[in-house]
Symmetry: C2
């Protein structure tokens, strides 16, 4: 069907899945890395750096923005993006909680 049955899962499960999905593309990984590494907002340089068309990058930025991972603000002629600290904190703690469920290697499944 291509339609996720979101209603049978918890809010937290859906939220984490959506955050991961927003990051689950090499172009969006690259964009996030670029923004993080520059340690400031990044304005327009993305097109040309990644080998993707302007329309495509704009679309990826929109996706990251709509989930709240980044935020943009107009800076003169161009638009600047940076990590949204609030969502980022949620992401970090949610991921940590998720990964913490793993208690280490078990003796089954050998």
């Amino acid at each position: 069907m291509g339609l996720t049955k979101a209603d049978i899962f918890s809010k937290e499960q859906n939220r984490l899945a959506m955050l991961l999905k927003a990051m689950a593309h090499p172009a969006r990984i690259a964009i996030l890395q670029r923004i993080m590494i520059s340690n400031t907002c990044i304005c327009g340089d993305l097109v040309g750096e990644l080998g993707l068309a302007q329309a495509t990058i704009s679309q990826h930025l929109k996706e990251l923005k709509s989930i709240g991972l980044i935020k943009g603000s107009i800076k003169g002629t161009s638009v600047c993006y940076c990590i949204d600290p609030d969502t980022w904190k949620v992401l970090e703690s949610t991921l940590q909680d998720f990964l913490a469920n793993y208690k280490g290697e078990t003796i089954c499944c050998q």
Copy 2:
């Protein structure tokens, strides 16, 4: 096009994106949580616990298995799954490296 241009990104970016994509579905989050919390392999109980059809769950398990996040072994009449510790370690460290790029709030984009 629906076809990711994997060749223009690094091996690491593609690998992380694929791992995240494998987890980026509430059903697969739920499955992983269930396996982790039980702290042992989990055999067949998944169908009926999540509200999805057997074929659907089998498909999600296959996806998790094909990326290496879980592994399965036949145990009598049913099949058991558990976290694959090797891939899990890679996931944890890759994620940590990725998140560590974030240096905290900046003074731009206000």
